[in-house]
Amino acid sequence: MRLAGRFGGAALSLVMVAVLGFFLFRVVPGDPVVSMTRGRPTTAAMQAELRAQFGLDRPLPEQFWNYFTSLLQGDLGTSFTFRRPVADVILERLGPTLLLVGTATLIAVGLGLWLGVRAAWRRDSGFDRVTTGVSLTLWAVPTFWLGMLLMMVTGDLFPSRGMRDTDTAPDFVSQALDVGHHLVLPSVTLVAVVCAEYMLVMRSSLLEEMHAPYLTTARAKGLRDDVVRRRHAVPNAVLPAITLVFLRFGLVVAGAITTETVFSWPGLGLLFYDALTGPDYLLLQGLLVVTAGAVVVMNLLADLLHGVLDPRVKVV
């Protein structure tokens, strides 16, 4: 029952994502062609041709139907700037983003949760004050600025543009090392900001549990303090924290956009930047649908994972 409900809910969310994409880029702007060609010399005839090409001369319901059916077939339209199918362009950029976001998320989750647990368990200790203070400050730091700062401070130590050098030897090891070298600054930037949030989430989640009566029971049994923490407090506190980590996945996405822009990392974030400077509406629309869809799927995964981890949630 619950499982079916979750999948149904996610499906509905995906449809809402599609509707949102249509609404934002076809309904809100009035005439997209006027905005897209803003600043470029165009004649009325050229605009009319563009309108016909994008199907903008049709009534809105028909436009939506065409948009929605092609979306279902994986057709996101043709990019105005790249002159290629949006889906192809996005697919091409997926790899670098997955590498960056994946690396950063793994490190940030591990580090953030660990720091959060330690800080909360020794509340108001020096460690807690310092980590909480640093996290609050990092939370206030705009990601892109941190990236620019790191770039300036490290100087030539790390490459600051792109994902690999053109003159690297073609064998796998050299290529991997080169990519890893390029990955350092962007992932440090992303980790710093995301990790701060996860640390604060984990800390407050554990603080919520600190006064739970079952911890008194555990202490009364004669368990050592660290065993009480490891075996009783953390398993309870980590559940809401994990859910929040997945819920805040949008934060990682946002961070990726600016980080990739600063470091010219050839992923979806940089593509976003290229598309909005165009502006290339169909590409933006495709990116919005893809990222929002990914977030919805992540959220579904979090839900399922929560069902597996928390016995209080009935999965079936």
Binding site: S35, A140, P142, M148, L149, I257, L288, A292, N299
Partner: protein, 290 residues
């Protein structure tokens, strides 16, 4: 027994809990904000229009800090210090208005979906949850791309995309309050929706909303700087984010023009941190200790 003797001990109770003044970090944050507000109000009055006009400046481009321009100059030769002062207003204004918009929508949606049951609440909750998981920045980017550039667009884009967390929180608080026996008592006395919302729900939501609004300003300022950095800001106005956009565009990093990169970013961090600290201090004051 707490008897009649304790009557009138209301103030003492408050002092026990530690008022706002007991929260040192919060007070420091409030002081920073007062200074920032002062700068924002005075800057337009004190800075001559010529000083920030690209066509009339006399200093050279990329000058490091020195006499006459103690924070150096940007790529057009304008004084970074003056740009900073001028940008304060924009950042604060956008942050405040966008936060008020977001918190307003969030409070309304939260109370409606918490108080009324049935289809309306279900639909509102569904929509809230949908927007809660979507990456707000991506939506804000999309909105600011399709709408004409300007201050209004930025405010709208941030405000319309950052209400769901407030709505979630207000809804939870509304449900908590409505489950309390005193609301049942009010209903049994004959009180209707307006009475319950006006006399019981709203007063208990307000402190939390205030806390939330303070924290919302903090994230709205970061959001504004990000949108401006991506070139989606109001091109006619100076803001800290827009300065960083210029810095990126004109290569402040390769030029090692740290004086153009550090001040706007630091200003954002300090002001955002100040709002966060004030918010946390308010939170500590309004949430009763267990």
């Amino acid at each position: 027994m707490r008897g009649v003797g304790a009557v009138g001990g209301f103030l003492a109770g408050r002092v026990d809990r530690g008022g706002f003044l007991a929260q040192r970090a919060g007070v420091a944050g409030a002081a920073v904000l007062a200074v920032a507000a002062l700068i924002a109000l005075l800057a337009p009055l004190l800075i001559p229009a010529d000083a920030l006009d690209v066509t009339r400046v006399t200093d050279g481009a990329w000058q490091p800090p020195g006499p006459g321009h103690w924070l150096g100059t940007d790529h057009t030769g304008r004084s970074v210090a003056l740009l900073m002062a001028q940008g304060t207003g924009t950042s604060l204004f956008v942050g405040l208005t966008a936060a008020v918009l977001a918190v307003g929508i969030g409070t309304l949606v939260g109370i409606l979906s918490g108080h009324f049951g049935g289809l309306l609440a279900g639909a509102l909750l569904r929509v809230t949850d949908f927007f809660l998981v979507l990456p707000a920045l991506v939506l804000a980017i999309a909105l600011s791309t399709v709408l004409p550039r300007g201050l209004g667009t930025i405010i709208l884009a941030i405000g319309l995309t950052s209400w769901p967390s407030t709505a979630r929180m207000v809804r939870a608080q509304t449900l908590t309050i409505e489950a309390r026996p005193f609301v049942e008592r009010a209903r049994a006395l004959g009180g209707g929706h307006t009475h319950v919302i006006g006399r019981h729900v709203l007063p208990s939501v307000v402190p939390l909303v205030l806390v939330n609004a303070t924290l919302a300003v903090a994230s709205a300022i970061v959001a504004e700087s990000t949108l401006a950095f991506l070139g989606l800001g109001d091109p006619t106005r100076i803001s800290w984010g827009a300065m960083l956009h210029q810095a990126q565009l004109h290569g402040a990093v390769p030029q090692r023009a740290w004086w153009f990169l550090l001040p706007p970013g630091l200003a954002i961090v300090v002001v955002v941190l100040a709002f966060t600290l004030v918010g946390r201090a308010l939170e500590a004051v309004v949430t009763p200790k267990r």
